[in-house]
């Protein structure tokens, strides 16, 4: 049987985190009342003229730099088409002279995906289909909200370098982290500020030429991207194996039945009649623009993950990813809490415990966590690792610290979290042994699985105040006695 290779290229549309739209001063905001952020420019009224938002250019250049692209002189074109999502009947986009070209993105597994271009364009309005269950083909009419029309976008087009569904997912995941880290976008796929289309084809592994590709749209999460690539690859191979051939078309991913469907639009080759936008001047990445683009941009996620992982020590047994980082490291960098951990470790906190509390508890409220004083956070971690606080108590104190700030030792005192004295702990441990003779017997005979149960019983009796490490020691010493 022929072996096939998957070939994927990805187009990612990213909404920029500007205050206003690309060509007018209307607010760029998600979730506002429909049609409250509209003006003559974004409604395409006669006589209105677009002016480019400087911040959008800076952020586009920033994205290009983060993706190792070359910034170049660029111009805008009109892409003409008739569709109610754009009241001008054209979209202003960049065509054959985009602002960023020829870059690459390195994935955590070390593989590189080429970036063909990252160009600027305006977003379109949002249509809602009424009747027919909201599906476009069965709807009786549609409603349009132009708040999104004119919102600045950067479209990042990869080269067809991606070779599996998992790699496609890893690419978008890493790209999203980078976009968030640069501050260019909030990267929220569920709100549509990051949208992914995938060009998918298969070819026999011996073939040097690419197969015919299908473009799959409506990929609203990393999971649907991965599943859609898997599905589409299987569909295309089955088609070829049964003697058929893949036709180039746009397909729609349906989350409900986990498959792609041909969009069945009357397929006329689109003729967008691109021509240079006469109302806009060329963009040149001069020193001022490039300086503003680079201002305040910190290290990229890959470097930050590496730095944070190195706190755990080389070849950490916790490392679970191919780049040597752990899930906790990824979470902490993603939420921008890595400086908090570095600060706490510098102040003497245990790196593993600081990382764990940041990735699990602090991550529950990242906005508050980013404002934490690293020294106070370090104080908390130290109290836990010294046994002064149990894990349960430590989490409570951290929650209070994030909510109202303060000194962790004082909060612990206020909450009545005094370290349990040895006599009380011994009493509880002995009580648990008496109350659970069968489990205690199994534990004495060497069944360590039951140790968790006994620990749990002590935690229950002590209302979470007992220190897990000391409890384990207490049981161990009684077993040996």
């Amino acid at each position: 049987m022929t072996e096939y290779e998957t070939v994927v290229g990805l187009e990612v549309h990213c909404e920029l985190s500007t205050t206003t739209k690309l060509f007018c001063g209307c607010r760029n905001a998600f979730g506002d009342e429909p049609n409250t952020n509209i003006c003559p420019v974004c409604l395409g009224l006669p006589g209105s003229l677009p002016v480019i938002n400087r911040r959008a250019v800076e952020l586009a250049l920033r994205i290009g730099a983060a993706l190792n692209c070359t910034a170049r002189r660029s111009i805008f074109h009109r892409k003409n088409y008739f569709y109610p999502d754009m009241p001008k009947d054209y979209q202003i986009s960049q065509y054959d002279e985009p602002i960023n070209v020829d870059g690459w993105l390195e994935l955590p597994d070390g593989s590189r995906v080429g970036i063909e271009r990252a160009h600027m364009e305006e977003d379109t309005g949002k249509t809602t289909h009424v009747g027919g269950g909201g599906r476009i083909h069965e709807a009786s009419y549609s409603l349009v909200d132009y708040n999104r029309a004119g919102v600045p976008l950067v479209e990042i087009v990869s080269r067809p370098d991606v070779r599996s569904a998992a790699q496609a997912r890893a690419y978008v995941d890493e790209l999203r982290s980078i976009l968030v880290a640069t501050g260019a976008s909030d990267g929220r796929m569920e709100e549509g500020s990051l949208r992914v289309d995938a060009n998918i084809s298969v070819r026999p592994v011996v073939s040097a030429e690419f197969g015919t590709r299908c473009e799959v749209k409506n990929l609203n999460s990393l999971r649907s991207l991965e599943r859609a690539v898997e599905y589409e690859v299987e569909r295309q191979i089955a088609l070829i194996e049964s003697g058929g051939s893949v036709s180039q078309e746009t397909r729609h991913w349906d989350e409900g039945d986990s498959s792609t469907h041909s969009m069945r639009s009357k397929e006329e080759a689109n003729d967008y009649r691109y021509f240079p936008e006469p109302d806009l001047t060329p963009l040149v990445p001069d020193a001022a623009l490039l300086a503003a683009a680079g201002e305040g941009v910190g290290a990229m996620p890959a470097e930050r993950r590496h730095r944070l992982s190195s706190l755990l020590g080389a070849g950490s047994d916790l490392a679970t990813r191919t780049d040597g980082s752990t899930d906790q490291v990824v979470t902490v960098v993603d939420l921008g809490l890595d400086e908090l951990v570095h600060g706490a470790v510098a102040a003497g906190a245990d790196p593993r415990l600081a990382l764990a509390r940041a990735a699990n508890e602090a991550a529950a409220n990242p906005d508050a966590a980013r404002l934490l004083d690293p020294v106070a956070f370090a104080g908390l971690v130290k109290m836990e690792s010294s046994g002064r606080l149990s894990a349960t108590q430590s989490k409570e104190v951290l929650a209070e610290l994030m909510a109202n700030g303060g000194d962790p030792a004082q909060i612990a005192g206020r909450l009545g979290y005094e370290q349990m004295d040895t006599a009380s702990l011994d009493a509880i441990v002995d009580g648990v042994i008496v109350a659970n003779p069968l489990e205690w017997k199994r534990y004495r005979e060497g069944d360590d699985k039951v140790a968790q149960f006994l620990l749990g019983q002590v935690m229950k009796s002590s209302k979470g105040r007992a220190n897990g490490k000391l409890v384990a020691q207490a049981f161990a010493s009684r077993r040996e006695a």
Partner: protein, 88 residues
């Protein structure tokens, strides 16, 4: 061409515009005969670049007054006829 531009033309108009468009194309053809190997394409007649504005919000239009000029509006949105296919 009429279909691309969404124009409804009758046969008389098609004939009349065909003649006019041919004249325009002939003119374009005359320009094409020139040697432009050393002339960069001109997207903009003036040598100005980077005309930019600051990212500062300005008031938008009042929604009710905008929607009152639309043929049909519903729930704060423009109502449009049934759309025959996905966005291009």
């Amino acid at each position: 061409m009429a279909r691309l531009a969404r124009l409804a033309l009758d046969d008389d108009e098609v004939g009349r515009y065909a003649v006019q468009l041919s004249a325009i194309l002939e003119h374009v053809d005359a320009v094409r005969r020139l040697d432009t190997a050393d002339v960069p394409p001109t997207a903009h007649p003036f040598p100005v670049e980077n005309v930019l504005r600051s990212d500062i919000e300005r008031p938008s239009l009042d929604r009710d007054s905008v929607l009152s000029q639309a043929p049909v509006a519903e729930s704060g949105r423009f109502r449009v006829p049934r759309i025959m296919g996905e966005a291009p």
